[in-house]
């Protein structure tokens, strides 16, 4: 296969992955990124660079896992800037999260980061439990257990708002790893 044919073959394969740009952007916004478009573009750049790692049959879990890492990195950078007493980088906020039902938002923030992500991958990203397990890098059985537990905790938190823990980052969901 000539280099030109190899490139074309790679581009065709990447085009399938790239079709998910909009869903990755939406994911980043839902997770409170201040620069969801930038995160999605970076995810796609990483996907091109590591295309051999991206599953051909279903790239979404891989893309979400990468996006999650980039959102966490963005948040760490923002925290460092804040710790140094500097102004945070001027970028668009995540207005969508402001519109989230306050009770639900508080209840979600009372959960661990992985519990939150397990619930949201199913409810917002519309992944199956197996896909969500791949996105979190855990086995499907462990994911189902975590999901069940997370639902119970969220329900308990909604039923008893006093049991909520204080959010680490008000106005933003905590998606960092435990």
């Amino acid at each position: 296969m000539t280099p030109e044919l190899e490139r074309r073959s790679a581009e065709e394969r990447f085009r399938v992955v790239f079709q998910h740009l909009g869903t990755v952007t939406a994911y980043a916004r839902r997770r409170g990124s201040r620069d969801a478009d930038g995160i999605a573009a970076e995810v796609m750049t990483v996907a091109w660079r590591r295309l051999a790692d991206v599953p051909r049959d279903d790239p979404r879990p891989w893309l979400y896992a990468t996006a999650r890492n980039l959102v966490l990195a963005e948040r760490r950078r923002a925290a460092q800037t804040s710790d140094r007493g500097l102004e945070p980088e001027p970028s668009s906020p995540a207005p969508e999260l402001e519109e989230l039902d306050p009770a639900l938002s508080r209840a979600l923030r009372s959960l661990s980061a992985l519990d939150q992500e397990a619930l949201l991958l199913i409810a917002w990203e519309d992944l199956t439990p197996s896909q969500a397990a791949r996105a979190l890098g855990i086995n499907p059985t462990a994911f189902r257990v975590r999901l069940l537990r997370a639902r119970r905790r969220l329900r308990a938190s909604l039923d008893d708002p006093g049991a909520e823990r204080l959010p680490a980052h008000p106005g933003q969901l905590d998606v960092e790893g435990t």
Binding site: A10, L21, T45, L97, A123, R151
Partner: protein, 219 residues
């Protein structure tokens, strides 16, 4: 679709319910301007290697099945060394006329032959040698030699020549092959023609016998 009330409530609260529409042609071009993942080339080569191996295996399977078919067609296929041994062994059982000698049996080293072919070749060599001996005896007016030749050839047809069943080819192998060297004639009238040739020669009409001697003499 889940019916879990918590998941349904979360789903209704999705702040970005749909994928975001993005104009991305320029982004696609910018990203793919960089060099693609080198490991893709290895993947392609790996797939090509797998394809080549699969093709080789397929060809080997075809060759093997063809060899089996040939083997089945020939009966039990044997190597040239076995055929040559059969030819040498047959020489001890078959007599040649005075003055004749066994020609070297040339057989290609990579050929396969049915079992018994070496003995069959020896039978044909002996038959032709006796036919020519008979022709020579007729020409010389040596009636004793002619009678001896006729006797040997009649015995050869009776003992060492088999006729395949009607419809079977000369490659037919008898279910219980005889211990002695033998050759198979197809049931196409050829054996009758040979018998008639000998009968005609014995009756003083040796033309066909002469033709047979000339046609089948080793070159």
């Amino acid at each position: 679709m889940t019916s879990d009330p918590i998941t349904l409530r979360l789903r209704r609260a999705n702040p970005v319910p749909r994928a975001v529409a993005v104009e991305a042609d320029e982004l696609f071009a910018a990203i793919t301007a960089a060099r693609p993942d080198r490991r893709l080339r290895r993947e392609v080569r790996h797939r090509q290697r797998v394809l080549v191996v699969a093709l080789v295996l397929l060809v080997m399977a075809l060759v093997a099945s063809t060899a089996l078919a040939i083997s089945d067609w020939l009966g039990e296929a044997v190597k040239p060394s076995v055929t040559k041994q059969e030819y040498l062994a047959a020489q001890k059982e078959l007599a040649l006329p005075p003055g004749a000698s066994w020609p070297t049996f040339r057989i290609e080293p990579n050929s396969v032959t049915g079992r018994g072919a070496g003995g069959g070749h020896a039978v044909l060599v002996a038959q032709n040698a006796w036919e020519c001996y008979w022709v020579h005896a007729i020409r010389e007016g040596d009636n004793a030699a002619a009678a001896r030749a006729q006797s040997v050839l009649t015995g050869l047809l009776a003992q060492n020549v088999l006729e395949a069943p009607v419809g079977a080819s000369e490659n037919w192998t008898p279910p219980n092959p005889p211990d002695r060297p033998y050759v198979v004639f197809a049931a196409d009238g050829g054996l009758d023609w040979v018998r008639q040739t000998y009968a005609l020669a014995a009756a003083g009409k040796p033309l066909r016998l002469i033709q047979s001697c000339n046609a089948n003499a080793p070159g």
